[in-house]
């Protein structure tokens, strides 16, 4: 009874707060470790609530609410603000977190320089973390904050998941190297002058050089390291990895990067959350249609050498209107006509004047068999678009070949003249007269 009431209340509140929402749901579980105070992240959490998310808080060791029960995720999104927690309740394990991601639930992971179960999970996502106890520090630019609090400009984004025109962001945490897994991509790179070190005085210089020479991977330094990275799973769930929890904190959000210029932390945190929760850069296929040129019905099978038109409608999620809207902005969509290997791969351009529609006409190969129309669009930062439609291709029937050939003219002429000659003979024989009979008769009578 109570659960139904609360469901009705939440539905009502959802209807009232119909602002930017995610395409996969609004319930967010925030696992907040006891050493962090919820009030210190009020800017971030209030921003999420204003967008329409429902936040539920728990500590890592709490048994309820469980993030996953009987293989069904309980929430649409999970924020793990537990960078230094070493022990969790039974429902949060590396396996359960990976299961969540495979069931289209999004997770925001936060790391620290301490070694925890979450930092042991990071290499599964192709992240290479620095040795424990080495936070990211930078002596550049000269400033009055400690070297571990670093302003990072947002202008170096190659994949525009977050805007590149924000004010610099205050950051404190670790950086990590990215493996070459294409599902992983950097959202915010570390500044080129930054590096991971545990020393606090100039005399630690030797230790820095020794660390670089000792470990086979060199020094965690420079802009090839990232501080925020995104991972798009094949099933649709997104994981965002952030090297420090203070990026989301109120202190950094309200801190100024220059006189009168506020940091970009608040907006960056909201944009990161909107990517991680599948609000932005979310695509889906609405419908697929294929038919012969000049034909409107969908056929069960095609004949070799047919001209076929393939059309697909693709939508992008618009967080402001909370709806999927047709999207014609994909310029490099490709269609493959595949039987074991692609026989035809052609560009699928958007149709001008028809939003969301992509169409191409091509000729079916002259091999018969069972083919598939495959659209497989994967780009870093975007959800993956997969669609596969099976269609048999048969060779032409006996009466689908060319009917009359110029090489057969002599045979046509021969056959027709035989018919004509027979008819002429029949006419002559039936209608004609036998003169020899007359002559004979004439001869006889005389």
């Amino acid at each position: 009874m109570v659960s139904i009431c609360s469901l009705l209340v939440s539905l009502l509140s959802l209807a009232l707060l119909s602002l930017a929402k995610s395409s996969t749901g609004d319930s967010v579980l925030v696992v907040l470790e006891p050493t962090l105070d919820q009030a210190n992240f009020s800017v971030f959490f209030d921003g999420l609530k204003k967008k329409g998310y429902e936040l539920t808080f728990r500590a890592p060791k709490d048994v309820s609410p469980a993030i996953i029960q009987d293989d069904i995720p309980s929430f649409s999104h999970v924020i793990l603000f537990a960078p230094e927690t070493k022990a969790y309740a039974g429902d949060i394990t590396p396996q359960s977190l990976v299961t969540l991601l495979s069931k289209n639930t999004n997770v925001l992971f936060v790391l620290s320089s301490k070694q925890t179960p979450v930092s042991s999970l990071a290499p599964e996502f192709s992240l290479i973390l620095p040795p424990p106890g080495t936070p990211l520090i930078s002596h550049f630019p000269e400033r009055d904050t400690p070297p571990s609090v670093i302003p990072i400009p947002t202008t170096t984004n190659t994949i525009p998941v977050t805007s590149s025109n924000l004010s610099p962001i205050w950051y404190s945490g670790v950086s990590f190297a990215l493996g070459n897994n294409p599902l992983l991509f950097p959202i915010l790179r570390a500044p080129p002058e930054s590096f991971a070190a545990d020393s606090t005085e100039d005399t630690g210089a030797d230790a820095v050089v020794d660390a670089a020479e000792k470990s086979g991977e060199g020094l965690w330094a420079g802009s090839s390291m990232s501080v925020v990275a995104g991972f798009q799973t094949r099933e649709g769930g997104r994981a965002a990895w952030v090297g420090g929890v203070e990026v989301f904190g109120d202190e950094f959000a309200n801190k100024e990067v220059a006189a009168g210029v506020k940091s970009g932390n608040a907006q960056f945190a909201q944009e990161l959350a909107s990517w991680a929760f599948q609000e932005s850069f979310a695509l889906r296929v609405d419908s697929i249609d294929h038919h012969r040129v000049n034909d409107t019905t969908v056929r069960e099978h095609y004949t070799t050498n047919d001209q076929v038109v393939y059309t697909t409608h693709i939508s992008k999620f618009n967080a402001e209107t909370n709806a999927w809207e047709p999207f014609s902005g994909i310029t490099d969509l490709q269609l493959e006509f595949t039987m074991l290997d692609p026989h035809v791969r052609t560009a699928l351009p958007p149709v001008p004047g028809s939003p969301g529609e992509y169409s191409v006409t091509f000729r079916v190969p002259d091999r018969h068999g069972v083919f598939k129309f495959v659209v497989d669009y994967k780009r870093k930062g975007w959800t993956h678009i997969h669609s596969s439609t099976t269609v048999p291709v048969v060779p032409p029937r006996h009466d689908e070949y060319p009917r009359f050939l110029s090489a057969a003219w002599p045979y046509y002429v021969g056959a027709i003249s035989t018919s004509v000659a027979f008819w002429v003979f029949a006419v002559l024989w039936l209608a004609g007269d036998d003169k020899s009979l007359y002559k004979k008769k004439g001869g006889k009578t005389q």
Binding site: E201, A258, R363, V413, S419, L428, G432, D433
Partner: protein
């Protein structure tokens, strides 16, 4: 350019803090090569960039030496961070190499192209020279960054890519090679042989002209129905060849066959009667 504007607030922040400034004393680089007779040694200017990049061959060695001192009193200093940064602007690849500095500030770095360090970024034959800069960071002094020179090194092995990486970009288009169209002999040849097939008609018409057969009973009411129905049968077969399907042919043909049979019986009976004596 916009990056510069965006980082202007950070530079303003920098000016607010007063700390001692670091600089380099007598920075030089030396290139030893197995082919050259004597090593090339040049000082590095901190103020202006050299016009041409430093070129290293596959077996050359670059030795860089300098001393980190405080600008005001020339005292040697060991900064916390002394990094050499190799940066490829075209691809964004970067390599950071820490340099060991003595407590008196003296530093030596050797880059042997025969055994290159792992921190060197990958280069391709078409990439521009690497920009080499020195980063000095210290807890007790202001940080300093010096652009040293541009370095041209031999191309490296290409970066190993994940096997799935290609499917995250545009793939090459594939076009199916179709079997060539069925080749037919040229039409004039077919027309010539069609005409050749018609030549027996010429012979037939010639022979008929010599016989000069007469057809007095052509329009007789006993003969004409049969001949026209026979003609219609031939026309039906021609129509079947062009257009009809078997079911329709059998239907029309069935009707026609009954009529033709009756007409034919009558016609043949008539010719028989003529032959036996009525004419």
């Amino acid at each position: 350019m916009t990056w510069l504007l965006k980082s202007l607030p950070l530079l303003v922040l920098a000016a607010a803090v007063q700390a001692s400034v670091l600089t380099l004393q007598s920075p030089r680089y030396t290139i030893t090569s197995p082919t050259a007779t004597h090593p090339r040694s040049e000082p590095v200017s901190l103020v202006e960039k050299p016009a041409t990049p430093v070129v290293l061959g596959p077996a050359d060695t670059l030795k860089l030496s300098f001393q980190v001192v405080e600008k005001d009193d020339g005292k040697g200093v060991q900064p916390h961070q002394t990094f050499l940064r190799f940066y490829d602007e075209s691809t964004g690849e970067e390599g950071i190499q820490p340099i060991r500095v003595t407590s008196g500030g003296k530093a030596k770095f050797e880059l042997n192209m025969a055994r290159p360090p792992a921190s060197l970024p990958p280069t391709s034959p078409t990439s521009p020279p690497l920009k080499v800069s020195l980063l000095l960071g210290s807890f007790a002094h202001s940080p300093a960054k010096f652009d040293l020179f541009e370095l041209s090194i031999p191309a490296s092995q290409p970066v190993a890519q994940h096997p799935d990486e290609a499917s995250f970009h545009l793939l090459p288009e594939i076009q199916h090679t179709f079997r060539p169209e069925q080749k037919l002999p040229p039409r004039p040849v077919s027309a010539f042989f069609a005409a050749l097939v018609l030549t027996p008609w010429v012979v037939l018409i010639g022979l008929c002209a010599t016989i000069q057969p007469t057809v007095p009973h052509l329009f007789s009411p006993r003969i004409l129905p049969f001949t026209t129905l026979l003609g219609a049968f031939e026309a039906l077969l021609l129509w079947y060849w062009v257009d009809l399907k078997i079911g329709q042919v059998l239907m029309y043909g069935g009707v026609l066959a009954v009529l033709t049979a009756t007409a034919g019986k009558q016609a043949l009976g008539t010719t028989g009667a003529w032959r036996t004596g009525s004419k």
